[in-house]
Amino acid sequence: MVDKKSLFNYLLRLGDDQQILSQRLGEWCGHAPTLEEDLALANIALDLLGQARSLYTYAGEVEGLGRDEDQLAFLRYENDYVNALIVERPNGDFAHTITRQFFYSVFMDLLWNGLLKSSDETIRAIAAKAVKEVDYHVRHSAEWVIRLGQGTAESRERMVDALDEFAIYTGELFEMDALATEMAEAGVGVDLAALRPQWEAEVNNILTDAGLEMPKVNWMQTGGRSGEHTEHLGHILAELQYMQRTYPGMTW
């Protein structure tokens, strides 16, 4: 039997990652370089939001305290969020947003594929939907990595900057702490560390096509999974939670 508290916390990690990145991508709405990109980033944000809703709804059921998706999304404090730090990083310029999306989508593609074999039926069902959506996200960001890498001297330089900034946030995605290990051993989760070689191979393939390379880093940023965040998360939550904090219990 899987420990309910552990399963709940595991679902929160998955849900928080999708929700926070969705919120970040939503910031581009009305500001993207072209109309098509505005639509693309908003669409990806919407996919992630939908995935977050399914994950939070299920987390609330597992917890059994009557909390629904809205309460989990809007009424927790900063330190209760367990998303990876990469998703809360500011959007930066378009190259930064694309680089973050590329690193993250390639990871989620591998993770959702692994979760198709989860022993948990609901996680399997959520994964089966998400895996088809993340295909689009991988393709979209990979194409942009190549366009920007092979574009102008300036677009290339911005990609190099973005790779430098986000490389140190990729290690956390593969961390196997006590909870991740427990979930993997129970067959609910996936051995994240085992995904890393494939992630590196896929990322390197695209970077090679783009004429770029992964910066060498010997230190990785960490903390998000245990609720230790950068200063950016608080600002995201201030905006994200504004309505529920101002009008508690408000519904549409």
């Binding site: 098509e36 990109e37 639509l39 693309a40 908003a42 669409n43 990806i44 944000a45 919407l46 996919d47 992630l48 939001l49 939908g50 995935q51 809703r53 399914s54 593609d109 039926e121 609901t122 399997r124 069902a125 959520i126 089966a128 939907k129 998400a130 088809k132 959506e133 295909d135 689009y136 991988v138 393709r139 979209h140 990979a142 194409e143 190549i146 096509d209």
Partner: protein, 164 residues
């Protein structure tokens, strides 16, 4: 009414509900309405499935299906969301595909794009003039289910219902 008659009547009522975004097709045409079950007490339960995880129309569709069932005389009707098996564009009926085309939206090609095929473009037929000379403007369109295309023959832009 026996259970089969209830099921059929409820199905017919629910199946007529139009999609809120593309009202030319019904929830049955899209394969969103999966089945109607009849509970022991005679209350019909419509099983609906979301298309894309984030499709904002999902709530609306549940609401409309429930309303249709209630208007058909089933006060105790319920709507349940099922995630598995996941919805796929293959569930679009032939009738639904024809209606989409007539409405100006190219129906999904049966074969999904491989994500390895970067910069690859599915050959999509223009729903206006029928030409195959079309190009993709963006893989993401005005709703989560659509991509933007342009016909290079008749020069008209059009939506393509993308594969999932």
């Amino acid at each position: 009414m026996d259970r089969e008659a209830i099921r059929r009547k409820a199905w017919e009522a629910a199946a007529r509900v139009p999609d809120p975004e593309v009202p030319v097709v019904t929830v049955a045409d899209l394969g969103i309405l999966r089945e109607v079950r009849v509970e022991a007490d005679g209350a019909p339960v419509a099983l609906v499935t979301p298309t894309y995880s984030g499709c904002p129309a999902t709530r609306m569709i549940e609401h409309e299906v429930l309303k249709a069932l209630q208007e058909a005389g089933f006060a105790a009707a319920r709507v349940e969301t099922v995630l598995s098996p996941p919805w796929t564009t293959d569930w679009l009926t032939e009738e639904g595909r024809d209606k989409l085309r007539a409405y100006g939206i190219a129906p999904p090609e049966k074969r999904s794009n491989s994500k390895r095929a970067l910069f690859g473009e599915t050959a999509v037929q223009c729903p206006h003039c029928g030409a195959n000379e079309t190009e993709r403007v963006s893989e993401f369109g005005s709703t989560p289910c659509k991509a933007l295309y342009r016909c290079t023959k008749c020069l008209e832009p059009f939506d393509y219902f993308k594969c999932l």
